[in-house]
Structure formats: structure tokens, C-alpha cells
């Protein structure tokens, strides 16, 4: 820095940077008076809600909830069992490439799969709005059954509630899943280290874009289908190819790949550098994102995972992944570095670098 005006104050600049650092490292305080849509969007507000309210209440001793994985693991008679739960409130309930019923199964089995657990069984709880047509309900029940069969899980329990008209939007679904953690899996954000390669399992942003266009708020037509699909086969292939060298996996749902990378960079205390030009994005999604001014990296996926693999196993893992139907377009998109800790950088296709932070706002309500 050559300008003379900068020199005397550089001590102050350093102090200010340190204040910011300290503030950011602290557990965020929940200051809002009410829940806003941003609290459900998966970005900063969601993180503040979880870390400022849920974690201190549910896990005051710090037993591991703060790791904020897609699924929790408990040991039952010596076997590690993964448990996860997820609610689905997507609007509209049917969209190109899928529907809320299919999503409700895939979303939950995928949270298990990326925890390294073969999905075994799920429960299904339905909240129905008074007046919902039985045709609509029947179609979704069939979609749930088909998706469960495709994912190889049994539906073993359920619940039904009906609320007055206007108190829900057609139907909401909550699914809870259990699976046995695979012997080959030793997955944890803590395992991620500098040099690891980052994989995504296919073109990104399709689910969120399909939902956005299905809402018809943009008068924009494009041939984009949701990517919703079960991911155990992909996870299984990666575990088989990389074993111990597979460090960590995440399901890139709400908040997209960008959010997953940010959560992991923070959780692992590493930097992640994504190469924008290597990230697979279909031309229709790229075009829609361009028109709407959104970045596909932040758009939700329902059938894409992000995996961290040791560099020596990266090529083998990629080959194995690409052999799985539905993940043929998987790609190596970035790598882990040690500094700057907790940050995600993007090498733009244009040749510059920028920081890719968590979203502060609420890009799209009710995508899953």
C-alpha cells in the first residue's frame, strides 16, 4: 500500500479487522423479534437460528449437534445408526421432474446417504389442508410409495393431521429416516484437509430453477426438470472407490453448493477454492440464472452431492461416480487449502477470484 494516507492508520485497520474476526467467531446472537422467511432459506439467518437457539437448547454440553451434519449418528448395540428428519413444504407441490411426495422420500434418504449410511426405513407424517382433493393426495401417496421402492427403503410408520382451510398450503410432509452407517465410511468435516479435491455429482441448480419457473412468476419458459433422485448409489460408489480417502459428503439442497462449501469451510477450519469454469451447469439453468440475476451455486439441488476426497483417490472416485446412472456428469470442481480459514473462494471463469459467502437473504421461498 503506497498511498501516504494509509500508513499511519494501518494499526487501526488491523485492530478493526481483529474486532470483526472476534465477532464472527462468536456464536451468533439471535436478535430478531420474529421469524422471517430468511430464517428458512438456509443462509446466514438460518445458521443464526440453529446456532443461536437450537444448539444451545438441545446440545448444551456440545455432544456433536453443533457439527450440523445432514444426519445424526447414534450407536445401538454396537451398530452405528444414522437418523435424520426433514419437512417438505414446497410450492407448487408438483413441478417438472417431480413432486412433493417424491421429494419427501429422496430428501431424507439422501441425508442418510451422505452420512455414509445405507437408508433402511422411513416414517411419513402428513399435514393436510381441509378441502384438499383426494386425487391430489392419492397421487402424492403413490409418488411416496414409488420413490421409497426406488430408494430401497421401507415405510414403517406414519401420522396424519388435518388442519383448517388456510392453515396449510395443500399438504406438508415430514419424513424421518434411519440407516446403518456403512463400515467403509469414516466421514466427518474434521477429516477434510488441505489438498483434498471437491467433487459434485452432476449439473447444479436444476431443482431450484425448475421450482422457480413452475411458479410462473417470471413468464419464462425453459425445459428444466428437478434433479430429485436418491443418492445412495452415488455414495456407495464413492465409498467403494475411495474408502477412507472419502473425507466427507453433503447433500447440496437448500442454499445450493455455495452453502454446503461455506458450512464445511467453517466446520473444518479450511479454505475451499471452487473453479467456476469446472462446475457443471446445464445451458438452460445458466440462461435462466443469467436472466434472473441469480448464481446457480446458491440454487437448490435435490439429487446432487458434494464430496471431499483425498487427492490421490480423486480420479478413481470421479470415475466410479460417473458410472452411476444419474451422476454421469459428476466433476472435480475445486480443492481445499489451509488459508484463509473458513472462507470459500471462487476462481471465476474470467480469471479473477472472489469470495463466495453465505447468502444473507432469502433467494427463493419454499423450494423443498
Amino acid at each position: 500500500m503506497a498511498a501516504p494516507s494509509d500508513a499511519p492508520s494501518s494499526g487501526r485497520e488491523q485492530r478493526i479487522l481483529e474486532i470483526i474476526e472476534t465477532t464472527r467467531a462468536k456464536r451468533p446472537k439471535l436478535k430478531d423479534e420474529r421469524v422471517t422467511m430468511a430464517h428458512g432459506a438456509g443462509g446466514k439467518a438460518t445458521q443464526t437460528l440453529i446456532e443461536g437457539l437450537f444448539v444451545p437448547a438441545f446440545d448444551p454440553a456440545g455432544a456433536g449437534l453443533a457439527e450440523l451434519g445432514d444426519a445424526g449418528v447414534v450407536t445401538v448395540e454396537g451398530s452405528p445408526i444414522a437418523i435424520t428428519t426433514d419437512s417438505f413444504v414446497v410450492s407448487p407441490i408438483r413441478f417438472p421432474g417431480g413432486s412433493i411426495g417424491e421429494l419427501a422420500v429422496n430428501g431424507t434418504v439422501n441425508d442418510l446417504a451422505v452420512a455414509g449410511a445405507r437408508p433402511t426405513a422411513i416414517s411419513v407424517a402428513l399435514i393436510l389442508e381441509e378441502g384438499l382433493q383426494f386425487d391430489v393426495l392419492r397421487r402424492e401417496v403413490e409418488a411416496i410409495a414409488e420413490a421409497a421402492a426406488a430408494a430401497g427403503v421401507e415405510i414403517v410408520s406414519g401420522d396424519t393431521k388435518v388442519v383448517e382451510r388456510g392453515h396449510a398450503d395443500q399438504l406438508y410432509i415430514t419424513t424421518t429416516g434411519v440407516g446403518v452407517v456403512d463400515r467403509r465410511a469414516s466421514l466427518s468435516p474434521a477429516a477434510i484437509r488441505a489438498g483434498d479435491q471437491v467433487l459434485v455429482s452432476g449439473p447444479i441448480g436444476e431443482h431450484g430453477t425448475a421450482i422457480m419457473l413452475a411458479r410462473d412468476e417470471f413468464q419464462l419458459d425453459a425445459d428444466i426438470e428437478s434433479d430429485t433422485q436418491p443418492l445412495w448409489a452415488a455414495a456407495d460408489a464413492l465409498l467403494g472407490a475411495a474408502g477412507d480417502d472419502l473425507r466427507c459428503m453433503r447433500d447440496a439442497t437448500r442454499g445450493g453448493v455455495a452453502t454446503v462449501l461455506n458450512e464445511l469451510a467453517r466446520a473444518s477450519g479450511v479454505a475451499i477454492v471452487a473453479r467456476e469454469g469446472d462446475v457443471p451447469v446445464g445451458p438452460a439453468v445458466a440462461g435462466a440464472a443469467e436472466l434472473l440475476g441469480i448464481d446457480p451455486m446458491y440454487v437448490a439441488n435435490e439429487g446432487r452431492l458434494v464430496a471431499f476426497v483425498a487427492p490421490e483417490a480423486a480420479d478413481t472416485a470421479l470415475r466410479a461416480l460417473r458410472a452411476v446412472p444419474g451422476s454421469e456428469e459428476g466433476a472435480l470442481v475445486g480443492e481445499v487449502r489451509s488459508e484463509p480459514q473458513g472462507m470459500v473462494l471462487v476462481e471465476t471463469a474470467f480469471g479473477g477470484t472472489r469470495v463466495m459467502d453465505l447468502l444473507a437473504g432469502d433467494p427463493l421461498p419454499r423450494i423443498c
Partner: protein
């Protein structure tokens, strides 16, 4: 479509341009260029353009982010209108989180106000025609870029006799804040990357006063990364060659005299306000638009009582100085303590692309890079 866009994002050409820029700069001096328009800030950020520039070429974010310049009092007025039972209040998505004195639109929505995001004023008009028993209010913001679409929507509402559609007009004009910046004696800028989209409407002509009166070059510029780099090269060439004029990099879209049809629509629907408050810059005379008498029936400010209170920017806020390039974000008294991205006070912290928000989030990283 992407094919045509990609041509303006070619990294090879970008590297070549960056090389030409490097050749033009005098390593012994610093260059501070202001990109006036928020759209340019976005491109610079999205493509990492400042990253390929020589270290002594610094880009200063200007006052052209339409969301950031809305003062707290206007947000309060909007919320007061939105709280009326019969009102469906509509605004662009990026307005939702802009802080008022106590709440943002997002907070008011969570409290029960019917506030909806729209992508264009026509969407708001459509909501009005499909909800005849409600009153739909559109919170219009933006420079000359978005003003014509608000004007066209109001023309249509009038032609179709839509009686339940109102507009809170916050449209602003680009020249007065630039003049205000240039008038300040402590300004340290070497040139301007002129607004592209605004210029498609107003043309390049209105910027002639900048070189003529204030001796600073201005190049109107497109928004693709190659556009911005080429614009910067053109400004640096002017400085090197001792020229000082308005040049048009974005000639594929910007006519010198602007778009007469858009200007005519605006002239019919709007008239100048005597003065308007800008967040961070204070009151600037004749810098904003209100609905003309012919469109008074659509003016939400005439239909509804609003507090209309001017909520002063906190005294310690130094956004004006940051915008002028006089101080760096961290030199502001409230930066990082009272003013953070979560609880922004000034315009530069409101938008994630504002100078202060960018520094708050990435300052450490940028600094490490400079040291390396």
C-alpha cells in the same frame, strides 16, 4: 443466448486487456476510478475484475445502487402504507431487507403486513387486476434504468382504468448525486466508469459536464467483464494522453442522445421533486421523481398518511466520505462496531456489494493477498 454473452467473458481476451491496462499505468501513482452504477459493482465482484487489475488501480463503488440510497424514512413510510388492512404492498426482492428506522419490509411482513416480492411493476399491476377488492401499492425504486418501466405500467393502469393500483415513487436520477460528489472539495477520484443501463435511457450527453466542469474523464460502459476492462483501459488512456472527455464504450446499446421514447414516457408520468434525501449523501435538490399531476390518482403518498419523518443517518456514519474515496471503510467511526452487515447503518453496508460490506466480509482476505 449464452453464446452472445460468453463472447464478452472470454478469459483470454480479458488477460490481453489486463496486460494493456498494466502497460498504461504509471507505477508511481495511484488511480482511483469510480464505477457509478451498482450493476458495475456487481460485475466487478462477480467476475473478480479488480483481481486482474494492477494493484495501484483502485475501484471505488459509487452512489448508483438504487436499493442502498433509499433513506430510512422512506422505508418507514412504505411500512406505514403496507400496514393498512386492504393493502397488498409490492416491491423488488432486494428492497426487503433494507433497514428502516425500526424495521425492514421483511420484518413488517413477518408481523403480518401483506408484502410481496415482484420482478417488475407489471407483476404488481397484474396482482391489482386479479385482486380488485384490495389496493396494490408498488414501491418503485431505481434510476432512469427502471423509471421507464414504472412509467409504462402507470400508463397502462391509467388506460385500463385500474383504480386499485398505487405507486410510491422513489425513482432517482443519476446526474445530481454525481454533481454533489464532484462539488465536494475533498474528492479524490481520477475518473468515472459511467453507468451503462442508465445511459441507454438518458444517453451519454448528460455526462459532458463532468470532463467540461470538473476535469474528470468518463467512459460509459457495458456490464460484461470485457466491457468493464475495456472501459477502464479507455479511462487510463485518456489520463495518459492528457485527454478528458466523455467516451462511449457501450456504443452497441447506448445512443449519445438516449432513448427518446423512454424519455417521453418519463416526462409524461413523472416530474422532478424539489429535493430528495439520499442515504449517506443527505438531501440533494432535484434528484428524484414523483408522479406528475396527470397521475396524481396513482400516488400512494397522496392517498395514505405516512409519517414522512426524516430519519437522520446517524451522525457518526461517514458513507459520504467513503463514497467520495476520502476515507476507507475501516476509517469510519462506526464501521465494524455499530455498523455491520447484520445491522447496517449506512448505504455502503446495506448491500452486500457496498464498499463497507465488501470490506467487512473480505477485508482480511484482500489484505493477506496484498501482503503475499
Amino acid at each position: 443466448m449464452m453464446r452472445f454473452v460468453d463472447e464478452f467473458r472470454d478469459p483470454e481476451l480479458g488477460r490481453a486487456l489486463a496486460g494493456e491496462i498494466l502497460e498504461r499505468v504509471d507505477p508511481g501513482r495511484r488511480y482511483k476510478l469510480m464505477e457509478v452504477c451498482g450493476g458495475h459493482t456487481h460485475s466487478i465482484y462477480k467476475y473478480g475484475i479488480d483481481d486482474v487489475l494492477p494493484e495501484n488501480v483502485e475501484l471505488v463503488h459509487g452512489p448508483g445502487c438504487p436499493v442502498c440510497v433509499i433513506p430510512m424514512g422512506r422505508v418507514d413510510d412504505g411500512i406505514a402504507i403496507a400496514r393498512n388492512e386492504e393493502v397488498i404492498f409490492t416491491c423488488f426482492g432486494d428492497m426487503m431487507r433494507v433497514p428502516g428506522s425500526e424495521q425492514s419490509f421483511a420484518d413488517a411482513k413477518a408481523e403480518g403486513a401483506d408484502i410481496r416480492m415482484v420482478y417488475s411493476p407489471l407483476d404488481a399491476l397484474r396482482i391489482a387486476t386479479s385482486n380488485p377488492d384490495r389496493t396494490v401499492v408498488f414501491f418503485a425504486i431505481g434510476f432512469e434504468t427502471t423509471a421507464p418501466s414504472t412509467a409504462l405500467t402507470l400508463q397502462r393502469a391509467k388506460a385500463e382504468r385500474v383504480e386499485n393500483f398505487l405507486c410510491v415513487c422513489n425513482h432517482v436520477t443519476i446526474v445530481p448525486p454525481l454533481r454533489a460528489l464532484l462539488e465536494s472539495p475533498d474528492l479524490r477520484l481520477d475518473g468515472f466508469i459511467g453507468p451503462g443501463h442508465v445511459s441507454t435511457v438518458v444517453g451519454a450527453r448528460p455526462f459532458e459536464f463532468i470532463p467540461a466542469r470538473y476535469g474528470k474523464p468518463l467512459v460509459t460502459c457495458g456490464f460484461e467483464p470485457l466491457d468493464v476492462l475495456q472501459g477502464i483501459r479507455m479511462i487510463l488512456a485518456q489520463i495518459e494522453e492528457g485527454r478528458c472527455e466523455v467516451e462511449n464504450q457501450y456504443s452497441r446499446v447506448v445512443p449519445y442522445d438516449g432513448n427518446p421514447a423512454a424519455l417521453a414516457v418519463m416526462a409524461e408520468v413523472f416530474e422532478l421533486r424539489p429535493h430528495f434525501e439520499w442515504r449517506g449523501l443527505g438531501f440533494i435538490s432535484q434528484s428524484a421523481l414523483k408522479l406528475s399531476d396527470a397521475y396524481a390518482d396513482f400516488d400512494a403518498e397522496q392517498r395514505y398518511e405516512t409519517p414522512g419523518v426524516r430519519v437522520a443517518d446517524p451522525k457518526a456514519c461517514q458513507c459520504g466520505e467513503v463514497l467520495k474515496g476520502v476515507i476507507k471503510p475501516w476509517e469510519c467511526k462506526v464501521f465494524g462496531t455499530a455498523c455491520t452487515p447484520e445491522h447496517a447503518i449506512g448505504t455502503c453496508m446495506v448491500s452486500p456489494e457496498g464498499a463497507c460490506a465488501a470490506y467487512y466480509n473480505y477485508g482480511r482476505y484482500r489484505r493477506e493477498r496484498e501482503v503475499v
